[in-house]
Symmetry: C2
Subunit: 414 residues, 2 copies
């Protein structure tokens, strides 16, 4: 079974807006064992919507429309699909009455435009919208002897998601062949994409029944594994076995096999070991702290720290001797060590992290190029330092540095 | 003139990857006066690519393909387009030789697969790829008596952008009707989208020749203005006049009329006034510092500061009296004031910013709900405080708070 997603909206053909509903829909459809074979973004134009619907019906089992169900003149999905199917639009009097009640309760006045949202394609099942006005519509249609499903959903993501989750998933399950899909995500840091693939490809290639996708970002590689089988147990066992083999190969390069971010993992370890952390950041300018505190509950073991962008603050907040900065430069192993030790003591933390480097684009030299970063992790037992030269622009370098710093903490606590 | 963008790649039909090239291409095409009428994401499938090319040729003047030009078996854009146009693919011997030289220089071995990237559609202009191997291709074709342009570009964004910028923009200008497009972006903070629109709609509705788009994010509204005219001067004057009228209406709610981010504007003001800033962040956890230091050169006037997530650090780094925290709570106007004053003195900065609040989802109460944030800005002249209750989740609340804090600094320095 395959599906096609049709996103309706002229604003999604400007440089400013991008469809995201299709990512959500794809994830859900994949869970049901349905592949997405095409996505189209089409303007608010009845003729174009109708023409696209006719073509899509000839090639795809499920057509999902996102958007174009609102009250304005530009909202033409209902009209376009009805035209393609040569069906009438019927104004639903009960729905209209419900709109009136709802509007009255909020002190709004229903305009004539709003009535349009009660137009239902003849024979459609109405999917009530708990987060908005325009309902979704579910239409079945025989085409070339095969059953097709057309699903009209509103564009606002929270409306679309609620309707799909509550009213479409279960309904789709009853019409789709029974199959069980299991997915797992492995997250890896400390190795590049091609190196990683060279090590794991010989393993996953032995699992032709598991679909493996490798994705890479700054300082992180992800392996997405997916399989389907006749029972949930059989599918789960298959994926778990592959995960085990990959983890045996990659060892502690894998930081998560259940989808967490690196900051979540670090927060988890800090909590588990009942230890605290403080950071003194120069080139990352608060990014490590920001990532750690993005996790709710992090205040229990992440104490905080200092953004010591100026040399004076390195001394004032982390007790780095001014002479040391003078002698070795602010970007040096010595200063990184002193930052880590200094912030640890100042904050009374179990661990102290110090980061200093050159994020660029200016400030580099032959000896100390843009991208050079020293990361130091101090504990009672001593200080460890990792020196790296990261590629990319300012944003990339800062992200890489934060990733490396968090990974040092993870490895220490593992 | 209109264009259609065809994005080729099965990975873009998974939940994990999203096309972004089309946003860049749309922006550039709009600058040339070309509208994008449709975007399609199609799988790595020669038959589907060919069929889509045939249909698109019948309705659009310019077809831009992104992706599918690499060396693997899955890269089939060349083959699909050649099939649709019923043209031959010809392997370019000079290009092949250049690939060999390049590979040898890097110590790589060319594989047979790589040769494929030298396949050129008969009659195409080759667009050299300075950032990668696969070149772009420019094909012209008469269809129903009208000239069509087909542009094949590689998928990696930095390769696509370089080729489009350097080799396609000027070439497109020569074939497109002369028109001059001018755009401007106004960025606004401190007012919601609907309130903003209510105030400016009566103005921009008087400019039917200027296309106005209103966009809203967390703590920021953007107005995108675009017009075209027979001369660049005429277009510029028209947009500038509208900008002036809107700025008269909105006053200092507009923080930028040339596209800068709020952190860029704050950095700019700090530099212009030759003053320095330090921040003590609790609930934003380093976000304000991270945003300010994301701007290259910010180290000259942003000194740094402290992430005082724990109460103890509020005292240790910003001299907030422990009794004050005890008495009023960490989230209080008093503590925000003390943070701002404390960090200013500690860092020897002209201005000190203190932020304390409840980012949620836990930690709220009836008296102090999730979303409550106090922002304080201290200078020699005294301390100002802004109290807000922000809607949304943890991420939204933190972003709103950082936006409010940065805006306080902007207003102070304006």
């Amino acid at each position: 079974m395959n599906a096609e997603i049709i996103v309706v909206g002229s604003e999604l053909l400007t440089p400013f807006r991008q469809d995201t509903n299709s990512l959500y829909l794809t994830e859900k459809l994949n869970q049901l064992g349905v592949d997405v074979r095409r996505k189209t973004i089409v303007a608010d134009d009845q003729k174009q919507i109708a023409e696209l619907t006719r073509v899509a019906l000839s090639r795809s089992d499920i057509l999902i429309f996102s958007g174009g169900l609102g009250p304005t003149e530009d909202d033409l999905t209902r009209e376009g699909v009805a035209e393609a199917l040569q069906l009438e639009l019927q104004r639903d009097p009960e729905m209209l009455a419900a709109f009136e009640v709802r509007a009255a309760a909020r002190g709004w006045k229903m305009t004539a435009n709003n009535h349009k949202q009660a137009d239902v394609i003849a024979g459609a099942i109405v999917l009530a919208n708990s987060n908005g006005t325009a309902p979704g519509q579910w239409i079945t249609r025989k085409h070339d002897g095969r059953e097709r499903i057309l699903l009209l959903l509103p564009g606002p993501p929270h409306e679309l998601k609620a309707i799909f989750e509550e009213q479409c998933m279960a309904r789709l399950r009853t019409v789709l062949p029974t199959q069980f899909i299991v997915t797992r995500v492995l997250k890896i840091t400390g190795i590049g994409e091609s190196q990683c693939d060279a090590r794991v490809a010989p393993i996953y290639k032995g699992y032709t029944d598991v679909q493996t996708t490798i994705l890479a970002g700054a300082g992180e590689v992800q392996l997405h594994l997916k399989t389907h089988a006749d029972s949930i147990d059989a599918a789960q066992k298959r994926v778990d076995k592959l995960v085990e083999e990959i983890e045996n190969e990659l060892g502690d390069l894998v930081f998560s096999d259940t989808g967490e971010s690196l900051e979540q993992i670090v927060n988890y370890y800090l909590q588990m070991r009942n230890v605290s952390l403080a950071v003194a950041e120069s080139c990352t300018g608060g990014l490590v702290a920001e990532r750690l505190t993005s996790i709710s509950g992090s205040s229990r073991y992440f104490l905080g720290g200092a953004v010591v962008y100026s040399n004076e603050l390195k001394t004032r907040f982390a007790d780095v001797p001014a002479e040391m900065i003078e002698k070795h430069g602010a970007v040096s192993e010595e200063v990184a060590r002193a930052l880590a030790e200094g912030i640890r003591k100042r904050c009374g933390a179990s661990f102290g992290m110090g980061i200093t480097g050159i994020a660029g684009p200016t400030g580099g030299s032959a000896e100390k190029p843009v991208g050079l970063v020293f990361h130091a992790l101090a504990s009672e037992a001593g200080v460890e330092v990792v020196r790296k030269i990261f590629p990319g622009d300012r944003k990339h370098i800062r992200w890489f540095a934060s990733q490396t710093a968090l990974d040092m903490v993870r490895r220490k606590l593992m």
